[in-house]
């Protein structure tokens, strides 16, 4: 029954309470100098002023699902503007009673995206899944088969439109951008000039002007009655725009490749295609994941610019809801909702890219 001899001595070694634990952390991080202490106090005061009223506005005095009239009498947030108009905000003009179709199409899309995230699924069969998925989505959205009502693209709006423009803008723009980057570094003068002109021209104008040209000028050059689908025109403009920016990012990656890599490939007897496909591009594209993601994120957010050509993406459907006098005063709530939506999507994307970077890291 001998007491362990070292225990009392440990107590002597214990540092003062102000140096460890919560207090210690506070002392060394928030109150370590007089100006830090001052800053801490000021910030705390500001938070004290800001947070309780904000919390009260958003959660205590707020209503979550009430008619518009009830919102006029309260002090807090009127979140009701979202649930009361949710079907228009999410699905826009898609005919009432058929809105399960874009709903399922979006779930399908989400499922495919999540499935493709896993690098174990990167096989040829993935392409088949995507093809089947896209055809199913097309049928669900457009209809016409299996007794589904035909819904023209001008009735596609809200969330499905946002997702569609963004996804196809990225998925089609990325490979096109890679091709352009290769073209710009090509030794063939014609191809090189063409790519340089294209990239510089597109990068020289804002996306808004491209959208305007596609929707306002382009139809004037067509014979009367010949009209291209409005959604398609916007989609093409977004793809072309994304491709030009991706091209420059990828070119950066290509230029970062040391000469030795090219020479090694050549000495192995690989031709141009093989060199690019097996040696250069895999490395170059890996380097440029972070800047590519930046461009893809802005593509996603830029889709909201289609507002100016009267396509009803999720931002526009929300704005239309707000121009109904019943709901006009509640723009703050609606925009907060949209901000949260965009944040979730963008955060998921950047999170994934960080994981991808780690997964593909080969320790160079």
């Amino acid at each position: 029954m001998n007491a362990p001899p070292k225990k009392p001595s440990r107590e002597f070694l214990k540092p003062p309470v102000t140096e460890v634990g919560v207090l210690g952390w506070l002392h060394s991080n928030l109150f370590n100098t007089w100006y830090n202490s001052l800053l801490t106090v000021v910030v705390l005061l500001m938070l004290w002023q800001l947070v309780p009223p904000l919390f009260g506005w958003a959660f205590v005095d707020s209503v979550w699902n009430s008619p518009a009239e009830a919102c006029r009498d309260i002090e807090g947030a009127c979140w009701s503007v979202i649930p009361q108009n949710i079907s228009f905000i999410v699905f826009g003009f898609f005919p009432d009673g058929h809105q399960w179709r874009p709903g399922i199409a979006m779930l399908l899309l989400l499922g495919l995206v999540i499935f493709s995230k896993d690098s174990r699924h990167w096989k040829k069969s993935l392409a088949v899944y995507w093809l089947v998925g896209l055809v199913t989505m097309g049928i669900l959205m457009y209809g016409g088969l299996f007794g589904l009502l035909v819904v023209d693209t001008d009735q596609w709006s809200g969330l499905p439109l946002t997702f569609m423009l963004a996804l196809f803008g990225m998925v089609a723009g990325y490979p096109l951008g890679v091709l352009l980057a290769l073209g710009r570094r090509s030794r063939m003068p014609a191809i090189k000039t063409l790519c340089v002109v294209y990239i510089e021209m597109i990068r020289g104008v804002p996306l808004i002007s491209l959208l305007f040209m596609s929707s306002v000028m382009f139809p004037l050059f067509l014979p009367e009655g010949v009209t291209f689908d409005k959604v398609l025109r916007a989609q093409v403009a977004i793809i072309l725009f994304t491709a030009a920016y991706i091209a420059e990012v990828v070119r950066g990656g290509l230029q970062a490749m040391p000469r030795g890599q090219f020479e090694a490939a050549e000495s192995l007897g690989l031709n141009y295609n093989q060199t690019m496909r097996l040696i250069i591009l895999p490395q170059a594209l890996k380097i440029v994941i972070p800047p590519s993601l930046g461009i893809l994120l802005s593509t996603f957010k830029d889709t909201s610019l289609v507002v100016i050509i009267a396509l009803y993406d999720v931002l526009k459907t929300t704005k239309v809801t707000l121009s109904n006098p019943k709901w006009t005063g509640f723009s703050t709530e609606a925009y907060i909702f949209l901000a949260v939506f965009y944040f979730i999507c963008c955060y998921a994307m950047s999170n994934y890219s960080r994981k991808l970077e780690k997964a593909l890291h080969t320790g160079r």
């Binding site: 006029r72 009361q84 108009n85 079907s87 228009f88 699905f91 826009g92 003009f93 898609f94 005919p95 009432d96 023209d152 001008d154 709006s157 305007f212 929707s215 306002v216 000028m217 139809p219 004037l220 050059f221 067509l222 014979p223 009367e224 009655g225 009209t227 100016i308 050509i309 009267a310 009803y312 704005k319 239309v320 809801t321 707000l322 121009s323 109904n324 006098p325 019943k326 006009t328 005063g329 723009s331």
Partner: protein, 339 residues
């Protein structure tokens, strides 16, 4: 040299485009398609806007529906194309739409230079001022030195500038991009006055925290006759659109509503009989079914009904008829005889 060639090419191309754009029968094209493509606003409550279910509602929308009822006997045969202010005339010129009912003000330059024709006005609007009652102002002439909330880039801003200059008054514009934020700013007291089309002012006042605290000044500083428009080149189509609007006005004058139109078919009044196609002639003159006016009134209603349903005193906008009353009630709505 090179530049000249480019200019010549552009000139030829635009001539070609113009030649193509103004040929062909719009009515035939519409009948072949089986529906009308109507350009509408998409964001102005009471005139053209989808409701919570995505169904199009509004005075302009009902005007388009009237044309569809006249042509097809079915007011639902329409494809709505929401357009921005910049797109609207191009869309009409390029044939993307057959009919523009998007609260467009008829002006000389638009009517002549843009290759389009405006028809009968379906709403007489004008720009006015909304002020808080506590300022004690009764006339726009007293607004010297005021801060004025105004939407940017529209004729509204220009009109306000003209008004203040003509009356030798200072003003400070507060320019805000969207209507709903504009209203919020005004109610928060960041400006003394809000200026906009009178039809919008009433709606803005209706959503004020306390509508009784605000008053619309009597001065209307601009003329905004809002009218539907069609492309140059098919006068028959233009007549049809024109008389579809007029039919709604005429019906109100004759006391025919969507409720009593079936009884009115039995009326012994020859004016009513001619109007509703009991005595034939009007329909074939326009190249339409003899029941065309009946269909408009039955499915859409007369002008008074359309007005009250969309913007009238019992709606959120709560507008008085004013200039848009029948001529017999001191307004400007007047229809030529239907014979």
């Amino acid at each position: 040299m090179k530049l000249n060639r480019v200019t010549a090419l552009v000139a030829i191309l635009s001539l070609l485009a113009a030649g193509i754009a103004f040929a062909g029968k719009d009515l035939d094209a519409v009948k072949k398609k089986g529906f009308i493509q109507a350009g509408v606003n998409g964001g102005v409550f009471g005139f053209g806007m989808p409701d919570e279910k995505g169904v199009w509602k509004g005075l302009d929308v009902d005007t388009a529906r009237a044309v569809a009822a006249a042509v097809f006997g079915d007011a639902s045969k329409i494809k709505y194309v929401p357009l921005t202010a910049q797109q609207r005339f191009t869309a009409l010129q390029s044939g993307e739409i057959d009919l523009l009912t998007r609260n467009a003000t008829r002006t000389l330059s638009r009517d002549t230079q843009l290759g389009l024709n405006f028809v009968t006005v379906n709403y007489y609007d004008g720009q006015g001022f909304l002020v808080p009652k506590k300022l004690g102002i009764t006339s726009a002439k007293e607004l010297g030195g005021a801060t004025v909330c105004v939407l940017p880039g529209t004729t509204t801003e220009q009109n306000a500038a003209d008004f203040f200059r003509t009356n030798k008054m200072d003003w400070k514009p507060v320019v805000i991009e969207s209507t709903s934020e504009l209203a919020k700013t005004f109610f928060a007291g960041r400006c003394d006055v809000l200026t906009s089309d009178a039809s919008q002012l009433a709606g803005t006042r209706a959503i004020a925290p306390n509508p009784k605290d605000y008053v619309i000044l009597p001065e209307i500083i601009s003329k905004e006759p809002l009218a539907p428009a069609v492309r140059h080149g098919d006068d028959q189509w233009r007549d049809i659109v024109d008389f579809s609007v007029l039919a709604m006005i005429n019906a109100e004058e004759l006391g025919i509503t969507s409720e009593n139109v079936d009884e009115m078919l039995k009326s012994s009044d020859p004016t009513v009989q001619r109007f509703l196609g009991v005595i034939e002639g009007n329909g074939s003159a326009l190249g339409l079914d003899e029941k065309w006016a009946y269909n408009i009134i039955k499915q859409v209603g007369n002008y008074g009904e359309v007005f009250e349903r969309n913007v009238g005193v019992n709606t959120t906008l709560g507008l008085e008829r004013g200039l848009n009353a029948l001529w017999t009630n001191g307004g400007l709505m007047y229809s030529p005889p239907f014979k």
